[in-house]
Subunit: 281 residues, 2 copies
């Protein structure tokens, strides 16, 4: 196995299975044909062969959000999207764009909307100059990837929260990092991928952070999402990423980016440049 | 002006002006039509409307290199490429690929061959946690970008030298960095661009390195390529990059990548993700 395999695994979609999803005539996502067809007959949505359109007469955030809420409920009732979570994500054309509407997080892949999240690698610089990484094992009752390895802290970006606010919040919930320490997390870039899942399409953007931790800090989980934390040498983490599917699919990419930026995947590695490009598909 | 402008300036080429250049039937570059036509009548090269081909009967490195040397001399004599430099670059399909031939560095853009180089940002971590960057000003007698600002150390990747060997060599020549200190340079990624120049096409790959320097180290030039060095706060360097064309075209990109990785261009910056993607065109 090679690092490239994990990038390929996160970029597996077949465009022919989807049609554009338009809000106010603007393409904001891609919806699988069977999901689009399941919405025919609904008010305020036009199911066309070349696209699924929210009625252009819905001119404000609230009215669009109300319709999307009904559509999401329909899809959840039919088992086409998972149980709704009551956590709202923005519908927008890009990260800095104004939100056209909001929608339940569970229905975001159903409409193929771009989602944003923060992923943080907590690390400790050893006395010998090497790097140890804090790695989380996901709780066994999680819906997605139960029991798999994960970045120390990660979370989706809900509507109305700044990126650093989210980092500090998730650091507290997932790893019990004090806010003052969490605020020293350093933004280091972003990764994009487009993953086909049973619940639809995930065109995701992960904003990446490095958090250097003191040797005497030990993370502990407070929200039940993490079963345990490990402190492993970065070289060992690199081997786990390269040789196994133990990490949650997208967390592999966050670790690969970390390893490249810290010189632990050196430029002499075959496929180095395409690996770097692959992280921004 | 915006950071994106410097990425656009490095990715300005019009594909219609070029035809593929093939060695052993393999596309390795792109040659401008007038340069291709200037080579008609030469032995061992076929000038066709849809490509310039080195004779497929040239089956080894040496015979191909001898023909390329003649072609390069012809182009130099006609003023279509600059004066040859006697420094040889490999002709290959990718960084790890075997070299099919070698060619004078001055003729590399003339055939639109991919070139590789190392770029190093030397930096000092201040007591207040901030970062100062060592910036070079190029000598006023340089052919390319005389007097412009540059990364502390940078150099093309000649045939037969490893990347880290080149980093150490260039660190010594350009900034008088002792080999032991230079060897602590950390590889941090790669940047690609494709620039149209008067001398042809430059599809370049820059391997990037960070070198943390002690506060009492001062670089000094030994090969005449640098006029002077400055130690400036990274925030000031960011302003120079964003607001001026003072830096050599491709060095802007290396600084932008540094600023992103060190959190000095934060993810809240408009166009952040497209900036990151733009560095790997």
């Amino acid at each position: 196995m090679a690092f490239e395999d994990y990038i390929a695994a996160c970029n597996n979609h077949d465009p022919d299975k989807y049609r554009p999803f338009l809000v106010s005539g603007i393409p904001v996502g891609n919806v699988r044909h069977d999901i689009a067809e399941a919405l025919s007959g609904h008010d305020a949505v036009l199911v066309e062969a070349d696209g699924l359109r929210l009625d252009d007469n819905l001119t404000d955030f609230d009215s669009r959000s109300r319709v999307l809420d009904k559509l999401a409920s329909t899809l959840a009732a039919e088992g086409l999207v998972p149980k709704l979570r009551g956590e709202m994500y923005p519908v927008k054309t890009g990260f800095e764009a104004e939100a056209l509407a909001e929608i339940d997080r569970a229905a975001v892949p159903g409409f193929g909307l771009r989602a944003y999240g923060v992923h943080l690698n907590g690390y400790v610089r050893r006395a010998d100059g090497g790097i140890d990484l804090w790695i989380a094992r996901r709780a066994s009752d999680r819906t997605i990837c139960p029991g798999m390895l994960d970045n120390m802290v990660a979370g989706g970006q809900p509507i109305g929260l700044g990126l650093m606010e989210n980092v500090i919040k998730e650091c507290g919930e997932e790893a019990n990092v004090p806010p003052k320490l969490a605020a020293t997390a350093q933004p280091v870039g972003a990764i994009t991928y487009m993953l086909e899942t049973e619940w639809g399409l995930k065109p995701d953007t992960m904003f990446c952070y490095d958090l250097e931790l003191p040797a005497d800090f030990t993370p502990s989980n407070t929200d039940g999402e993490v079963e345990t934390f490990y402190l492993w040498p970065a070289s060992q983490v690199a081997e786990i990423v390269r040789d196994t599917f133990d990490f949650k699919f997208n967390c592999n990419l966050v670790i690969i980016d970390f390893l490249i930026r810290h010189g632990l995947i050196p430029p002499e590695t075959p496929g180095y440049v395409s690996l770097i490009r692959g992280l921004r598909k």
